[in-house]
Amino acid sequence: MSLLSVVDLAVARGGLRTVEGVSFTVDAGAALILRGPNGIGKTTLLRCLAGLQPPLEGRVIAAPDSIAYAAHADGLKTMLSVAENLRFWARVFDRDEIDAALEAMNLRDLAERPAGALSAGQKRRLGLARLLVTGRPVWLLDEPTVSLDADSVALFAAVIRGHLAAGGAAVMATHIELALPEAAILDLGGYRARPRAAGLRPAGFNEAFA
């Protein structure tokens, strides 16, 4: 069963299309890793999949309310404790179990610390734990392992494996090796957008006037 499929997608950033003609399908239990040089449009593509920006062309097909997005920024409130941060997101997604998530990302010892007093890698772990409390099947991850040490990367890989085994799916943008040999890899380098053909809808002022 395919949880997310993308058909001939084109996305734009800053009024210019970045990648186009992207098509893929992610089935339950599968992971896809997006690669490509800096600035090719990985972040833009993920934001489009998450519904934060409309696709310029093509379609994104996913069940409603099936997608959880983890951006560069972790969305933590520095004044709230680790547990409070997680509990808030759990409640937003209509759930109330956070212990499993704390356990999985090895945050139990830090549960009562204010999120502002965490180091870069600890913050990132908390950001990833958030995904576990959403209960959503499709995870979109933008450079998830930034700042993580080797142990935490392994922890993260284990969490991803668990999620896939439970019938979930994941799409990740990353520059480094993730220790997930089972994941498919899509290099966006080949989908770099060409200048807009006449007739096509302009992505914004920059394309309309160029």
């Binding site: 519904g51 409309p54 959880a68 951006a71 004044m79 997101w89 937003v92 958030r130």
Partner: protein, 218 residues
Amino acid sequence: MTALLLRDLRLAIRAGGGFGLGLAFFLILCTLVPFGVGSDGDILGRIAPGILWVGALLACLLSLDRIFALDHEDGSLDLLATAPIPLEGAVAAKAGAHWLTTGLPLVVAAPLFGLLLHLPLQAVPNLLISLLIGTPALSMLGAFGAAITVGLRRGGLLLSLLVLPLYVPTLIFGAEAVRRGAAGMDATTPLIFQAAISLSTLALIPFAAAAALRINLR
């Protein structure tokens, strides 16, 4: 939505006296004004309705950046926009939290400040009613302004330039109601107008604010 409301309230309290800050600002304003205009009780009494209302606007204004800017910076807003809460609901919850921390304490404490400024006693009921009706609209319009300027990192001045003109009708009717109260006149008309403005603001502005947020998150 309740979760969001509660979180925002908790954050306001954690951040150091959410409820107190607005009041303290108001208190300072009420002390500064006599320094500025002189301490003649008669004049003070006549300008009191205006000062109280303008003070309410400013207290509201100074806390507006809390509504969305912090959430935008730390990325929560992106995540909220992909959460199962409709964005309109999120806007309403956040404006509600803002009102509870700035508007409501003001309404409660306004009679006291009126006393400081020699506001005639018979104006107090009108003051209370008009603030109670008007401040929710201030919070909601403020949320709209905050949604438009979210992501622009240029201080409160632009925000106030956008928001304050929207406050004009509320201010006029509110201050007029208090002034009529002070003069012993009937203030039903301005209060009704004010209620109408507040109600339509509360009903329609969340959609405009959510649209602005979506544009800014794009």
